[in-house]
Symmetry: C2
Subunit: 320 residues, 2 copies
C-alpha cells in the first residue's frame, strides 16, 4: 500500500501543506497566513492545524502518515533540521524539523525551498528520469539546487547548490551580499523591478512608466513585454543573457543533463529562455552545451511541496 507523506511549503507570508502519496499526487491541501514575525511555537501550531485540516479532508489522521517534509527559505541545515535565519519570519536557530515532528508525532525533515523544488521536478516534473540537473528559482532572490547522480548534492557544510550566488558580471550590481554581479543580483525579481524602475525613468514613453515606480512588479514588467514594450523586453533579454552565462559555467564545470528555470519570474518564459539558450550554446563546450537542456518548471508552485515530500521519504528510507 502506498505510504502518505505530509509536506509543508513555508513562505514569507503563507504556509501551505499537502498530503501526497508515493506517486507524489497531491491528495489534499490546506494553507494559512503565518502572520508577522510569529513565535516558532505559534507557527508550528498553525502548521499542525492546516495539516489536520488537509488530513481530515481525506479522512486520515497524522498517525497514518509516514513522515513530514518541510521546504523552507534558508539558510538552514537539512541534516540537523535547524533554520539558522529567516529574514521574513524573524527566526534565528529554530529547530523546525524537531518542533514539527514532535507536534505531529511523526519523523520530520527540513530542506531548502529551492532544493525541494529541484527534487520535485526530478521526481514528478520536467526532470523525471534525469540523474544530473539543477534549478534556478527566480523570486525575491535566486534560489538554486543541484542533483548529481540521482542525489541532492549539499557538500560538507550542507550549503552547496546556492547557484544564485555564482558570479556572472563581477562589476555588476550588489543585492544582499557583498558579491557584485551574482546571478541573484542580476536575475531575481528584485533585480528585474529595479531595472524596470530605471527604464521607466530613462524611457518615459515606455509602458513601464505608466504606473508609479513603487508599484512595478515582475508580473507587470512581463505584461509590458507581452505588449511588445521594448524596454521591458530588453530587461528579460538581459536576464536571459546573464542566466545563460551562469548555465554555461555550470555546463562546463558539471556537464549536467538539465537546468530548470522556476520561480515567479519564469512566467516570462521564452523571453528569458531564448537569449539564455543562445548564450549557453555559444559558451559551453559543444558536448556539454548540446547535452544540457534548459526548461521551465513543470510543477510551478507545487514543485516545493512535491520535492519536500519526496526528499522526506528518501531520508526516512536512508537513501539520502
Amino acid at each position: 500500500m502506498s505510504r502518505l507523506v505530509l509536506a509543508f511549503d513555508l513562505g514569507g507570508t503563507n504556509v501551505r501543506c499537502g498530503i501526497l502519496n508515493e506517486q507524489f499526487e497531491i491528495l489534499a491541501r490546506a494553507k494559512c497566513a503565518v502572520g508577522t514575525r510569529p513565535a516558532p511555537s505559534e507557527a508550528v501550531k498553525k502548521m499542525k492545524q492546516i495539516a489536520e485540516e488537509a488530513l481530515g479532508n481525506i479522512g486520515k489522521k497524522s498517525g497514518e502518515i509516514a513522515c513530514v517534509g518541510i521546504g523552507s527559505p534558508g539558510p538552514l541545515n537539512s541534516q540537523t533540521g535547524i533554520i539558522f535565519e529567516t529574514p521574513n519570519l524573524g527566526w534565528k536557530d529554530v529547530p523546525l524539523a524537531k518542533l514539527v515532528g514532535d507536534a505531529l508525532g511523526r519523523p520530520a525533515f527540513l530542506e531548502n525551498d529551492a532544493v525541494s523544488a529541484c527534487w520535485g521536478e526530478h521526481v514528478k516534473g520536467v526532470g523525471v528520469d534525469i540523474q544530473s540537473m539543477f534549478i534556478f528559482t527566480l523570486g525575491t532572490g535566486v534560489g538554486g539546487g543541484l542533483i548529481l547522480g540521482g542525489k541532492v548534492w549539499k557538500g560538507p557544510d550542507d550549503i552547496a547548490g546556492h547557484l544564485g550566488h555564482m558570479i556572472v558580471q563581477p562589476n555588476g550590481p550588489t543585492q544582499v551580499y557583498d558579491n557584485p554581479g551574482s546571478v541573484e543580483a542580476l536575475c531575481s525579481a528584485t533585480a528585474c523591478i529595479a531595472a524596470a524602475q530605471n527604464a521607466a525613468y530613462t524611457y518615459p514613453e515606455s509602458l513601464l512608466a505608466k504606473i508609479p515606480p513603487g508599484e512595478i512588479t515582475g508580473a507587470y514588467v512581463n505584461a509590458c513585454a507581452e505588449k511588445g514594450d521594448e524596454p521591458a523586453c530588453e530587461i528579460f533579454r538581459r536576464i536571459g543573457y546573464h542566466l545563460g552565462i551562469a548555465c554555461a559555467s555550470i555546463a562546463n564545470a558539471l556537464n549536467l543533463e538539465l537546468g530548470v528555470i522556476g520561480g515567479g519570474l519564469s512566467a516570462a518564459g521564452d523571453k528569458i529562455l531564448v537569449p539564455l539558450r543562445k548564450e549557453l550554446r555559444r559558451r559551453a563546450l559543444p558536448p556539454a552545451g548540446k547535452r544540457m537542456r534548459i526548461e521551465l518548471s513543470k510543477l510551478g508552485d507545487d514543485a516545493g511541496l512535491v520535492g519536500a515530500a519526496g526528499l522526506a521519504l528518501e531520508r526516512l528510507d536512508g537513501k539520502q
Copy 2:
C-alpha cells in the same frame, strides 16, 4: 605485495613515464621527445621504449605491472580511451588506451591531464584525506578537475571538470573558444604573456619591456614581479582576482573543501594566492568560503603521473 603501475604524462613536446607502487612512490622514471606531429603508432613505440627503460632500471618487465595509466591533454573520453583531438600532436580520434595497452600487454586507462593532476593531489599531495576538491592548472590553457565525494566527477558525457571554461568576466578577452572572459582567457600563461606584452608597451620603464615582447614567458613575468616591478605584480593580482571569482562561484555552487592551483604559472605563489583568497572570502557564502582552502599543488610536475597511476588502479579495481 604492493602492485606496480606504469604511468605516462603525455605533453605537447615530451612524454614522461614513471613506475609507481601502491603508495604512489615513483620508483623509476624515463622520458623522451615525442617529435612533431608523430603518427600515433610512432608515439606508442616511443612510449613502449621509455616504459621498458624505466622498468629495466628496477629490474622489472611489463608483465609485472598491474596496469597502465595515461594522462593526456584532451578533449578525450576516459571511458572509451579515445583522444578526440590534440592540437599539438595533430591527432584525431586516436584510441590511445587500446594502442598502449596492446603494445604493453596490460590494461591501460586514459584520463585528462588536469583530472589526473587533481587525483594525484588527492592521493599523495595537498588533498590527502579530502573528499571534495578541485584543481586549476595554469598552463598554455587552464585545465580543471573535480572530485566529489571521493570520486572523479565527469558527468554523462565525460566532459565535466572543465573549470577553466567557467566565465568570470563576460566582456573579457577570448582565447581559443568563443567564450569571452573565461578563466582560461584571463588566467592562463598565454593570457599572462599577452597582458605582459601590453604592459611592456604601456609602461616602457617596466622590466617587462627589457626583452623583446615575443620572448616574454610566464616565468619572466614572475621574475619581474619578484623584483617588485609594479606592472608585473599587477598582472598576477588580476589573475588572482579572476581566479578568486571563479573559486567563489565554485564554493557557492559546490561547497568544496579544497581548491588546488597548479601548472607552470602557479610558481607565482602568493602573488596569485593572496588576491585570490581575498576575492573568494569576500564573495563566498560564509560557511562555504570558510570551508574552502586554496593551496598550491604539492606534487608539481609529478601530479599528473601520480594521478594517472592512481586512477588506473581505481578503474582496474572497478572503483570508478
